[in-house]
Amino acid sequence: MKVSLGPIQYCWPKAKVIDFYQQVATSDIPLVYLGETVCSRRREIKFADYLELAQMLKASGKQVVLSTLALIEAQSEFSALKQQIDNGEFIIEANDMGAVEVAKSLKLPFVCGPTINNYNAATLKKLASWGMQRFVMPLELSEEWLEQIMVALPPAQIEVEVFGHGYMPLAHSARCFTARNKGLTKDSCKTICIDYPKGILAQTQEAQPLLRLNGIQTQSATHIDLRDQQVEMERMGVDYFRVSPSSVDALVIASNLKASQPQSSDGANGYWFKQAGFNRVV
């Protein structure tokens, strides 16, 4: 099993993003996803900038995938998507069926991200026939669920990736919760999410951390951590363990992942064990 680095889900200043990917280039992480997956109003880093970063990472020996938006609403977003997918160089991570359609019609291979509803082998085989090479298991599924899917898949036809570490993208809305929290509307948001590099932590009235508001996305307050399941994933034949970055620490975590060295983990792992996602099963 190899390590992958998921797309940055937050709105970070351009200089910070460039610095981050320069450090990625010198890491031993073999597979890197990058691109805006949450909000098309975030224009700190334009698609051309991502393309440049992708080329830099490729030159340093990384396999690179360009991630696309999870929720495509406006026609302008759909047009932008076509341009991103038809980039002539990099495959894409589709996070919406609209992106699957574009990749399929251009006869380009693609990866399905965790927000595509891939719940069974028959669906995955269909997507593979359309060009899907790899899929990231939807977050709410369990080890048992995944194992049954993998048993039913033709060997080596589809690669499997598990979102193993980081804050979980749980939902996407039309509404921007970060803007709303600051008394702004989406149209006048001033890209305020740049002030919240890990989102806004929301706690219950009993001070239990519950959610993380990140623009139109709602994340888990607690990070998922399946590092201690690597041996198990290796046995099942999982191809990639995804680390979702929330800071430069993610690079240290990703670089230290070695399936042969069992690791302790913290954070949530409920989904993997068929429980509520926020649970920690020990």
């Binding site: 609403e73 919406d96 609209g98 049954q148 929290n181």
Partner: protein
Amino acid sequence: MELLCPAGNLASLKVALNAGADAIYLGLKDDTNARSFAGLNFTPKKLEQAVQYTKQQGKKIFLTINTFPKPGEEQRWYQAIDLAAHTGVDALIIADLSLLDYAHSHYPHLALHLSVQASATNLGALSLYKREFNIERAVLPRVLSMKQVRDLAKVTPVDLEVFAFGSLCIMAEGRCHLSSYVTGQSPNTGGSCSPAKDVRWQEVGGKRLTRLNEVLIDKSDIDDQMGYPVVCKGRYTTQENANPNYLLESPTSLNTLSLLPELAQSNVVSLKIEGRQRSPAYVEQVTRVWRQAIDTYLSDPDAYSAQAQWNQALAKVSEGQVTTLGAYERAWQ
């Protein structure tokens, strides 16, 4: 424009048809549908009665098979499709690719509607489902503005159905894990959003605490109007603001009576009323108001305006007695 109403049981189906529904949607009493509330939905025998009754009234009936099959148990979902085809429903409402594939290849003449759980919001997604499975219609998630609905309606290869009234789901449907994050149950895999068994109310010191799997979702005054407890409509605090607030959305219902002319002019073919888990009294009340509204509009489109008594009647059956235009209105976003 079709008025499409929910039925959690035969009683609701009958009152909806009597009150003027053009079509009914319903689900089987198992995990093949995403609203598997205890005590609701239809056995195969009840489905047969529902189809018979609806056809006698000259109306349409759609069956939702809108969860994603569990590995190793796919056969149960295929059997639900077989059953539906043989029972003579007018359309199936499906979200999963493999089920669309099965239904399209085995019953090419059976109309397929893309469920809102498939979360298709754009031309690309709709084109894909149309070309591959010949879907006839798609139900749009409650995340598009009215302008976006209008723009999509101009280019869509399939008919569009929108949510017109009912509990407001604020996330892209079918891709929301908030319920499974807190309770372990997901609408996608055959549970329901915020399963009733995980909901607990406590009265402590003159306040009512609402818990979901022991997580404190809200704390309210005893006489406050409350909605059904879901994670996205709870009151929470942040580091910057220690006063508990509805950070995502307050308990409120969607009511688009005022948008009826715009929806009609956009060529939206069907107006969906939410609430398969609600009582027959709710279904009857809402259907009656919407029947009147649609008929009033159709008889004289230029003179239409949402009447105060309609809105009042709908507010009474709304969450927290509050309604909103939700994402249709850009300012809400």
